[in-house]
């Protein structure tokens, strides 16, 4: 289903490509072409670092259709170090309890697959806790 729809935003899904405003230098993700800070055109691509921290998080116990097999899973608002906040799943969670402010980094993972065996498998960004150096 809807293959072009996912293909169209592949750079966002796989590489966190947003935009930077050439007028006020605001960083935008997702891209929105018009800068919400200054109202000018903002179409210059900008690659985000993928580093950020947890602004808020929750665990989903009652999923929408398409996500039944992954339940429960954790979703967060992640504040990227460049400023914007994104909605994404958290992954690779070990034993450590989650908390607001915890540093996380982007990884590319499977988000879901269509139930039909010939259906699409959709990949995209998730965030995992930053691995502390030994």
């Amino acid at each position: 289903m809807e293959i072009p729809r996912h293909w169209r935003i592949r750079q966002q899904r796989y590489a966190l490509v947003g935009e930077v405003c050439p007028h006020c230098n605001a960083k935008l993700f997702p891209p929105r072409d018009i800068c919400p800070q200054c109202g000018e055109d903002a179409r210059t691509p900008y690659q985000f670092s993928g580093k950020g921290e947890i602004y808020s998080y929750t665990t989903i116990y009652e999923p929408p259709a398409g996500f039944e097999e992954y339940t429960p899973y954790t979703v967060a608002l992640v504040k990227l170090e460049e400023g914007p906040v994104v909605t994404a799943q958290l992954t690779d969670l070990g034993e450590q309890p989650l908390e607001i402010g915890m540093p996380v980094e982007m990884v590319t993972r499977k988000i879901r697959s269509d139930s039909d065996e010939r259906g699409m498998i959709i990949y995209g960004y998730k965030f995992r806790p930053v691995l502390s150096r030994q």
Partner: protein, 386 residues
């Protein structure tokens, strides 16, 4: 612009109406509103509905429902603004009548949800969020509210139990509302131990879905006899929008669209928050009730839970809310909710709220929130003949 009056109201119980279709529910509410107003026809019909295309595979509701309700040939359209579709339809009716282009209009809100299974309804509700950047990641509508509530608790230091009075109040008020979905008193203990849906939101933070329809009939005030009783007028009506995605908001903990639409409505009505006798707010989740109270000027930022803990929101308090059960216990048939709020306000203003009747009900405010705050519509309704 002409001042407008509400002369007819109608509602069906909010329930799992397995024996009734979407058009039957809407028709029932419309016929009740016509009977209540002692009229047989109107010039236009505005249908508030969010999900008929997904859940019933039926669009084109304007013509469908006009025909079913015996109003064939009148102007009729559907209005969609997620969970605020109901108030959006009322506002369309108001603008049509107020402008002078239409002399009488019905706004009906209707939602038929329970034919589908839970995961499909959850997915349909999530279409109010950003499909590419929120829903695609598996976040649900409850999940978005949970993200907001979690951050709110973190920033302002509230505990989950501090939100209990909102749910308890709504359940209590619904007990004596025959049209309410839930008739069940709950305790603080019930609230604390309810099934978790999306932490920190549990079953008793969230409003139940249901099938239902509600309708209002609007005419110009000056078309009525000056001594018309009861004279219920819409004194303020304003709508504002915000980003669809929570992550795009400047401040995810502040309902900017509620602030803007309530401020405009106060101005139009010439009132301040202190003048509002009761507030039918959008308690789809307890956190939404709190944020709405703050943005509309009833509580300081971060202090919304105080109004619950101090008893201000109860029927005997200074600002009663959800006086017939609110979304939490009357139920939340999504696109119909905004019209239920107005029908219930009119009942209070007329003095027809039976056991739920407030002692002071002269100026009512209603607020219908679409998405997780992306579309917010505020109405101020007055009784003028006393």
């Amino acid at each position: 612009m002409r001042e407008v009056a509400i002369i007819g109201i109608g509602q069906t119980p909010v329930d799992e109406h397995w024996d009734k279709s979407l058009r039957e529910l809407a028709g029932e509410a419309i016929l009740k509103a016509l009977q209540d107003a002692q009229r047989e026809e109107v010039d236009a019909l505005y249908v508030g509905n969010m999900m008929s295309g997904i859940l019933t595979q039926q669009e084109n509701l304007g013509a469908l429902i006009a025909d079913w309700a015996g109003l064939r040939y009148i102007e009729a359209v559907k209005v969609e603004a997620a969970c605020s579709s109901g108030a959006a339809a009322v506002r369309q009716a108001l603008m049509a009548v107020s402008s002078g282009l239409i002399d009488s209009a019905i706004a009906v809100g209707v939602e038929k949800m329970t034919d589908e299974k839970g995961t499909e309804i959850t997915a349909a509700l999530a279409t109010a969020a950003d499909a590419d950047y929120e829903t695609a990641h598996g976040v649900t509508f409850v999940g978005l509210n949970a993200l907001i509530m979690q951050r709110y608790m973190y920033e302002y230091g509230w505990k989950h139990a501090d939100f209990a009075p909102f749910s308890i109040n709504s359940h209590l008020n619904a007990m004596t509302n025959p049209n309410a979905r839930l008739h069940e008193i709950i305790s603080e203990k019930d609230y604390a131990s309810a099934k978790m849906i999306s932490y920190p939101i549990n079953l008793l933070d969230a409003s139940p879905i249901g099938d239902g329809a509600a309708a209002v009939l609007i005419v110009p005030k000056d078309s009525l006899k000056p001594n018309h009783k009861p004279m219920i007028t819409i004194a303020g009506s304003a709508a504002a929008s915000d980003t669809v995605a929570v992550h795009d908001r400047k401040d995810p903990l502040w309902l900017k669209a509620a602030e803007i639409s309530s401020r405009k409505a106060y101005q139009q009505a010439g009132v301040t928050p202190q003048d509002i006798d009761f507030f039918e707010l959008h308690d789809a989740f307890s956190i939404m009730a709190v944020l709405s109270l703050e943005a509309c000027g009833f509580a300081d930022r971060g202090q919304g839970p105080r109004l619950g803990l101090d008893g201000i929101i109860s029927r005997s308090g200074k600002l009663p809310i959800a006086t017939l059960g609110g979304l939490k216990a009357r139920g939340h048939p999504v696109g119909a909710t905004g019209v239920y709020q107005i029908v219930e306000s009119v009942l209070q203003l007329r003095g027809e709220a039976a056991e739920n009747q407030l002692s002071k009900a002269q100026i009512a405010m209603t607020q219908n929130i679409g998405g997780s705050g992306s579309n917010i519509i505020t109405h101020i309704i007055k009784r003028e003949d006393r």
